[in-house]
């Protein structure tokens, strides 16, 4: 039975009247038309559908709509265009087919929140849930280091400004 669910999506309040057991992935894509969150396996195995729910990184294919009630969801579309990860990804030429990359970036984002200067090992642990069939893994490592650097510089300039 459909049910009215309310949550914040990329800073904007959303109300959807859908079966609350529907995975959030399909609500984002089919109901709300946000295509950055990708479908790869529907079993929580590939990471293509990674989003953040109240700051916690989750696989949206495993998350029933009801779990979003009253919470804040961030998808790749919610990242500001000057986000260090987006810049690092482009400058490192990470992208091949690109299908996995929104999910990779969402996972990397939560890694940098907990480990602002991650080691290769920490990257490998944090990013294990995200599959890339095009083999961009070595560049993802590079890009995460690069993004960490950009964040640091941004923080320093901010510090100087104030």
């Amino acid at each position: 039975m459909p049910e009215m669910i309310e949550f914040e999506l990329n800073g904007v309040l959303q109300r959807v009247d859908e079966d609350p057991t529907t995975p959030l992935l399909w609500i984002l894509r089919d109901t709300l038309g946000l295509t950055g969150t990708k479908f790869g396996c529907a079993q929580g195995l590939c990471g293509a559908c990674t989003v953040s729910l109240d700051g916690v990184t989750l696989r949206s294919c495993q998350l029933p709509l009801s779990a979003a009630q009253g919470k804040a969801v961030t998808t790749i579309e919610g990242l500001p265009s000057e986000d260090p990860l987006l810049r690092a990804w482009t400058e490192t030429n990470v992208i091949q087919c690109g299908y996995c990359q929104p999910g990779q970036i969402m996972s990397a984002r939560s890694l940098l929140d907990t480990h602002p200067q991650p080691s290769d090992e920490q990257i490998d642990v944090a990013m294990q849930g995200n599959i890339c069939r095009c083999g961009t893994y070595p560049r993802i490592r590079q890009a995460i280091h690069h993004a960490a650097q950009i964040r640091l510089e941004q923080a320093e300039t901010k510090g100087e400004d104030s």
Binding site: D30, T35, G36, L45, I123
Partner: protein, 735 residues
């Protein structure tokens, strides 16, 4: 001579010679996506009066970067910054048909290699016309004009005209019959690592993949279809009941099509839920009871008792073996491999009274149009195909089975847009796999200790043959059924057992005077297809491992041994030497061991040195050094991306648990039991490109063949375990 997939298709007349006539429509507009008043001197390029330069991308962008590399080639000769061009997906048009194959296809690592000449010509011709237009406007000789990034400049008085301003005049001029091309030293964009132009959109989730079509509201009322297929290869529906499923919320329709039961609903989740409630009884089909072990057993029988369907080589192998003082023998095997593009197969279409539109992530848009037309019964002339970005392809999207299904589905839903979505499980269980192959190798040494003969018998189904089940259906509907059937079976006969892609990479470059490659054609009916690097993927594993065995037998260093036996192959020697140097061959860091392999494919040569560490029976590939000779390089960083990607794709198949067959069906279903390489298993990769002025050769697949043997050879050097079967597994008791 090595026969390529491409020349083979041409040689048999399968394409080009007439069988596929009808692929290209006679009454198409001269060029696609034409804007009024624009200057469109060829199928790729268009310049609008307000100066927009538009490139029609005719090749599939599946990750390999043609979206950046092809415009660069044209832009260089046009003298216009490729990164300022607007790139559009071209769809199907005869202007893009391969000049020889006559179909529009992306594969065989050929896009840049075959595009290099025509795209340069196209750019240069357009530039010549723009110069002529400027000269005419100013009333001066063309020699008085030069260009600079989108502007024609008067050499003496410095007057300038933008390309856009010249469009009206350029349109009226006759193209010159001959144009000069730039010298390499004058290149401004070619040869530089321009960043990918699709990077930002893809990072932000804004690029349009097949999966995304219509979700932005551009196809109001878009429905989703899923198909429940028989899990057993070649099986079919015996009976089904949809009473429960039909009652599920959001279900629009349920009906049977050629490949199974289609469930159509509002959105994927509703369609999937209803599909799970279907009750279907399957006729298991011809492979019921067959499993992987049985397939292996029958391959062994074929190798032991069967006759090769095709033999090639040089010298007299039997004589050399008769006179041998020592014979080495080994059996190698490679298992089935799955493509698992991260974006599962999908396709979107709408049939309107005046024709159909199809959006497809496909490597093969012209064949797709034909197949869709056949199944939807919409004449080809009225089917417009839009190619989308695609989440990987690796050969899988050269097959258009999903378009056949969608044609059959859309036919029942006239006027309603519908997207067919395969689940990950569908995608894995109904792939066109790299087939399992079995190989028997023998080498002879003469009384002086020199290797005098090499014999390689392999058993494999034909790859090329796989396109023929489609072919009967693929012929235009106006071809009478009987004739199209005849064409299909004739083609099958031609290639029966003499498909050279089966032995791709088995004809070793090493100086061994007598060589024989015997191909045993054996096909049990498991779907098979082109998988990144095709025959090279398993043949390189076999021959580059066995040559290592020979080096060991001769008690020589694997690199030195290869170099000596490659005396007539300077490109092989070049990459091998440089790889040895870059990887500090023979002096690996503590706790690591090295293995080497070198292989030629798609006109390019690649050497790889893998560094591996071992603990017990576990091992980790830590570092891979690759040296690549792929002719002249258009965009070095794009080449490096492709080599990195191919190494990891090959490593995934070389290391991860294989997929298997039971009762004529694939056992595995998703990434938990059909694992693929993840980031912690990925080595660091260094890629070095040889400086070459030869025409560009293949790139997209060439990095794959050497990786499995390089790793296997590294493992041998410390454990003395010769791993002759993929995936690579160390046995207990290694030192």
């Amino acid at each position: 001579m090595t026969i390529t997939r491409r020349s083979f298709l041409i040689g048999t007349g399968v394409v080009g010679g007439g069988l596929l006539i009808g692929f290209q429509l006679k009454d198409e507009a001269p060029f696609p996506h034409t804007r009024p008043e624009s200057f469109q001197p060829n199928a790729w390029l268009q310049i609008t009066p307000d100066g927009e330069v538009i490139f029609q991308l005719d090749k599939a962008e599946m990750g390999q970067g043609v979206v950046t590399s092809l415009p660069t080639i044209l832009g260089e000769e046009l003298d216009f910054d490729p990164q300022r061009m607007r790139i559009e997906m071209a769809g199907v048009h005869r202007g893009y048909a391969d000049p020889v194959m006559r179909i529009q296809i992306t594969g065989g690592s050929m896009s840049v290699a075959t595009g290099w000449d025509p795209l340069r010509q196209a750019g240069a011709t357009a530039r010549a016309l723009l110069i002529a237009a400027a000269a005419k406007t100013w009333g001066v000789d063309e020699a008085m004009c030069r260009t600079e990034d989108g502007v024609v400049i008067h050499k003496t008085n410095g007057q300038q005209l933008q390309y856009g301003e010249l469009v009206a005049t350029a349109r009226t001029l006759k193209p010159p019959t001959k144009v000069g091309l730039k010298e390499e030293e004058d290149y401004r964009w070619v040869g530089k690592s321009l960043l990918r132009t699709d990077g930002v959109a893809k990072c932000r989730g804004q690029a349009l993949f097949g999966m995304d079509v219509g979700l932005d509201g551009s196809l109001p009322g878009l429905l989703t279809a899923v198909v429940v297929r028989c899990p057993h290869f070649g099986g079919k529906v015996e009976s089904y009941s949809d009473t429960t499923a039909l009652a599920f919320p959001g279900v629009v329709d349920i009906f049977e099509i050629h490949s199974g039961i289609a469930v159509v609903a509002h959105g994927y989740w509703k369609a999937r839920k209803a599909a799970e409630a279907l009750e279907v009884t399957w006729d298991k089909g011809p492979l019921a009871g067959v499993d992987s072990a049985e397939i292996r057993r029958r391959q062994e029988l074929e190798l032991a008792n069967g006759e090769p369907s095709d033999t090639s080589g040089h010298g007299d192998v039997s004589k050399a073996f008769a006179q041998a003082s020592e014979v080495l023998e080994a059996t190698y095997a490679a298992p089935l491999a799955h493509h698992s593009t991260l974006e599962p197969q999908n396709c979107t279409a709408i049939i309107r009274p005046d024709g159909a539109e199809v959006w497809a992530p496909t490597q093969s848009p012209s064949v797709l149009r034909l197949i869709f037309s056949h199944y939807s019964e919409v004449p080809q002339e009225q089917v417009e195909v839009h190619t989308t970005f695609m989440g990987g392809a690796f050969g899988r999207r050269g097959h258009v089975d999903f378009a056949a299904e969608l044609g059959a589905i859309a036919k029942q839903l006239l006027g309603q847009p519908v997207k067919l979505i395969w689940s990950r499980e569908d995608d894995l269980k109904h792939d066109f796999y790299r087939p399992a192959t079995l190989h028997k190798l023998r080498a002879a040494r003469d009384k002086n200790g020199a290797f005098s003969a090499w014999e390689h018998k392999l058993v494999s189904p034909s790859f090329v043959e796989t396109i023929f089940p489609n072919l009967g259906a693929a012929l235009p509907t106006w071809v009478p059924t009987k004739m199209s059937r005849a064409a299909g079976s004739k083609a099958k006969e031609w290639i029966k057992g003499v498909d050279p892609t089966m032995s791709d990479g088995a004809h070793i470059p090493y100086a061994i005077p007598n060589l024989e490659v015997g191909v045993h054609h054996f096909d049990i009916g498991v779907p098979k297809g082109f998988w990144r690097s095709v025959g090279h993927s398993h043949n390189a594993f076999v021959v580059e491992s066995f040559i290592d065995e020979l080096a060991h037998e001769a008690q020589e260093d694997p690199v030195t041994f290869r170099l000596a036996a490659l005396k007539d192959h300077p490109r092989h020697r070049g990459v091998l030497r440089r790889a040895a140097k870059k990887a500090d061959w023979g002096m690996p860091p503590r706790g690591r061991l090295q293995g080497v392999a070198v292989h030629e494919s798609f006109g390019s040569v690649v050497a790889e040195i893998a560094e591996v560490s071992i603990s017990g029976t576990d091992f980790q590939v830590e570092r891979v050094v690759c040296v690549v000779d792929c002719g002249f390089v258009i965009n070095p960083d794009l080449v490096k991306q492709q080599i990195e990607g191919a190494v990891l794709y090959g490593l995934s198949a070389a290391l991860m648990d294989p997929i298997t067959i039971q009762d004529g069906a694939l056992v595995q279903s998703n990434f938990h039991d059909a694992p693929v390489l993840r980031i912690h298993q990925a080595p660091s990769i260094e890629v070095y490109l040889m400086d070459s002025h030869a025409p560009p050769s293949g790139v997209g697949e060439i990095g794959l063949p050497p990786i499995a043997p390089a790793v296997a050879n590294a493992l041998f050097h410390v454990t003395r375990q010769r791993l002759r079967e993929l995936p690579l597994r160390l046995a207990q008791g290694s030192p």
